[in-house]
Structures are given as structure tokens and as C-alpha cells.
């Protein structure tokens, strides 16, 4: 599952007119990034406990099969409290997705700089994104597996986050080392390829080891624009950095 353009085709918009990351995020009407969420996520309110329980239930039984009982029990709140805070299960799911997106955008904003070379940006964003997913496996699964299939608003939230990543990636086209015959779909295929690897790892229950995928992700997302030799070099550097970290 890797839609990048919304049904109304506004996926193009973001890569053309926005010239900085804040602009991209604002254009998608995403919640502005939150860099203040603790790790591990410690819920500070009933609302956050409910959102975490929603993510956990999505991870174990899927969004479709999740009931309000699956959420309120582990969250330690009453049904009445749930309905004071959320209209229904879907409303709660969308709130959990919005929290995930704010978290993700916060991580990306933290490593982004307009002066950084494109390849370094791709590497740093990929690393930040993998770390975030690894630290919140239930949310990772909800955002990348459940949301795309959850219907209009859930899908749209997923797609808007993905358009920000796509727009960052597509900037590689501005300064390609190899430029002949690269189809317009190349960036979309590259992002879908990385996403598919990440989702496979999450579904296999290996979310905590997502960081190990960094060399693969760096290679596949840069190869269309940098060419094979340079993409392999970038990938090996990422691998070296991983090893140095231990």
C-alpha cells in the first residue's frame, strides 16, 4: 500500500511551491511538529492514555476489530470519559494519527536544515524516522499499516505525511547527477520501496530493529537521482555510522 497522491491530485502542489520544510508541513495542514514527546512515551493525560491504547489495540487485533472496550480497559478510563473526549472510535483513531504525525514532523524538523546537502538530508531524515518508528512500534504499525486502509480521513492523514517525505525526496531531482531518462514516477517508486521494507519489518515484529535498515533505505531512496555508485557510497557511509554507534 503506497498511495502518494490524494484522489484530488494535490500531491504535486507540495513539491512545487513550498521552499522550506515548515511550508511543506503547513501546506498539508498537518499539526506542527512536536519535539516534546518523551521517549518512551509516557502518557500525561487520560487522552494520551486512550490514544496509546488505541495504537496498541490496532497493533494486536487491527483497527477494524478494535472495540471501545479494547481501548478504555487498558487506558484505565470509563466509557463515559472516552465519549467526553471522542465522538467515537473513528474520531479517536484520527486523533491518534494526528499525534503520530505531529511526532514524526517534529523529528524531521529537528534534523532538517535548508543548507544541508540533499543526500545528507535524506540520510538524516531516514535515520530520524526509523528511530521514531522503532521507539513507538504500536504507533508505527497504526500509522503505516492501519491508517492507509482505514477510510477517507485516516488515509488522508497518512497520505499527507507521506507527501511531505515525497516532497523532500523529489528535491533530489533539482540537482541530479544523472539526468537522462529518469521517469517522473522514480521518486514515488523509491519511497514505496523503502516503505515496503519498513512495513515488512514492522509486520514481522521486528520494529525495534528498524534502525538496521538505514543503509538499505538510504540506497533505494537516493539511487534514482545520485546514480548507483554514489548511492552505494552513501549507503556504506550510513552503515559505517551505524557500526560506530554500536
Amino acid at each position: 500500500m503506497s498511495p502518494t497522491a490524494s484522489p484530488n491530485g494535490n500531491g504535486i502542489r507540495s513539491q512545487r511551491s513550498a521552499d522550506d520544510l515548515g511550508g511543506l508541513i503547513a501546506q498539508e495542514r498537518l499539526p506542527s511538529g512536536r519535539a516534546d514527546l518523551p521517549e518512551p512515551l509516557i502518557p500525561k493525560s487520560q487522552r494520551e492514555r486512550i490514544l496509546m491504547a488505541m495504537a496498541d489495540s490496532c497493533a494486536t487485533k487491527g483497527y477494524g476489530a478494535t472495540t471501545i472496550g479494547d481501548i478504555v480497559e487498558p487506558a484505565g478510563v470509563s466509557r463515559a470519559t472516552f465519549y467526553e473526549l471522542f465522538r467515537d472510535k473513528e474520531d479517536c483513531f484520527h486523533a491518534a494519527m494526528e499525534l503520530s504525525l505531529a511526532d514524526a514532523m517534529g523529528r524531521i524538523v529537528a534534523v532538517y536544515s535548508p543548507d544541508k546537502p540533499w543526500a545528507a538530508t535524506v540520510r538524516d531524515v531516514a535515520a530520524a524516522f526509523l528511530d521514531l518508528l522503532a521507539s513507538r512500534p504500536a504507533f508505527a504499525r497504526m500509522a503505516l499499516v492501519e491508517a492507509p486502509a482505514s477510510g477517507d480521513r485516516g488515509y488522508e492523514l497518512y497520505a499527507s505525511g507521506k507527501r511531505v517525505l515525497q516532497a523532500l525526496l523529489d528535491r533530489g531531482r533539482d540537482d541530479p547527477m544523472e539526468e537522462q531518462g529518469i521517469p517522473t514516477s522514480a521518486g514515488r517508486a523509491a519511497l514505496a520501496a523503502a516503505e515496503s521494507l519498513i512495513v515488512g519489518q514492522i509486520l514481522a515484529g521486528n520494529a525495534e530493529r528498524l534502525r538496521e535498515l538505514l543503509p538499505d533505505v538510504v540506497y533505494i531512496t537516493t539511487v534514482p537521482y545520485l546514480g548507483q555508485d554514489e548511492a552505494l557510497r552513501q549507503s556504506r557511509e550510513a552503515e559505517k555510522a551505524l557500526r560506530a554507534e554500536g
Binding site: 500500500m1 503506497s2 498511495p3 502518494t4 497522491a5 484522489p7 494486536t60 487485533k61 487491527g62 483497527y63 477494524g64 476489530a65 499499516v145 492501519e146 492507509p148 486502509a149 482505514s150 477510510g151 531531482r173 544523472e178 537522462q180 531518462g181 529518469i182 521517469p183 517522473t184 514516477s185 522514480a186 514515488r188 517508486a189 523509491a190 519511497l191 514505496a192 520501496a193 523503502a194 516503505e195 515496503s196 521494507l197 512495513v199 515488512g200 509486520l203 535498515l213 543503509p215 538499505d216 540506497y219 533505494i220 539511487v223 534514482p224 537521482y225 546514480g227 548507483q228 555508485d229 548511492a231 552505494l232 549507503s235
Partner: protein, 208 residues
Amino acid sequence: MIARSQRERALAAAIAVVGEKGFAATTVADLTREAGISRTTFYEMFDDKEACFLAAYDDAVDRLVRAVSAAYDAAEGPWPERARAGLAAMLAALAADPEPARMALVDVGAAGPAAQRRYRAAVQRLTPLFDEGRDFAPGGRDLPANTSRMAIGGVAGLIADELLEGRAKELPKLLPDVLFATLTPYIGPQAAAEEVARISGATPEMEA
């Protein structure tokens, strides 16, 4: 028309009803009505709606994977040419019968963890078609470990985008794009573009 078995009718019903209403909203009653079978018969064959959906899905995927593998194995020439044959067969099959594919891409996500793992496993059955790229590529052994899995994911992603945009009938036109997405991870974008142009005689849509 040949009278189909109750099982076949139930599987066809799962594809039709889930395609129309989505997995979450589909009930066993919908399936028995559409298939013209009793509830008792349904539960003799399947544990629940998910089991019926998964059986229908496995069936559809199996046909698709067999069609792709057959075209790939039958084609002659070096890897890019055979990969092209396999991909062309896949796009043609999906264009002719898009409902199972849409179901695989959209509803499997909604049908819960078991269905999702099944989708991954099915897609990865196409690995041999991609893995040969490693032998074909001059520097194939130096490529990242997950190159084939990612290449498959890229192709699946491009196809999913078309299906979600309602362009199933036009999938065959996607051949240059999916071929490029298949070849690039193994031989790089320049060589991939040359191969696509050479084999297809057509070029993917270019950036202006």
C-alpha cells in the same frame, strides 16, 4: 454457465461484497445472500468472514503469481527482457481483473494482522523474478541485502497508486515505469533508462 460449487460462490461473493462495502462493513449475512448459500453451509466451510475473505484472496493471488511466473519463465533473453515479460503479464492480468488486486491492496490492510502478513508473503513470492537482477548486475553482490524486497515494494507501490486513482484499465501503460523501478536498484538509473528505451521502444513519462 457452469454451476459453481458453493465454495466458489462464497469466494466470489467475498470479492464482490468486500469490494463494494469494504471489509469492516461486510457481514456474513452479506456473503451468504450474495452467494445464495445458507448460514450453516457458510460456517461449515469457513470459521468467519475473515477466513472466507482470506481464502478468496489467496485464490486470486495464486492465479496472479502463476501468470507472472509463467510469462517470466517462458520469455527468452537476458534478465531485463524476461522481467519485462513478467511485469507485462502482471499488469495485463490486473487490468483485466482489478477487483482482487484492489482488495489485496486496500482491504487486506483493513482485514487485520493475519491478512496483512499474507499480503507480504504473496508479494514476496515474486522474489525470484527480481533476485536474478543481482546475478545480472555487474556489482550485484555489493548491493544492500534487501534490494529485491525493496524493488518489489516499489513496483507494488506504483501499481497501488494507479488502482487507488481508479486507473486499473490503464495499468499496461505503466510498463516502462515499473520496468524502470525494477531495473534501477540493480543496475542504476542510467542503465535502467537505456534498457527501458531499448526493450520497450517506449520511454516513461519524462520530467519536463
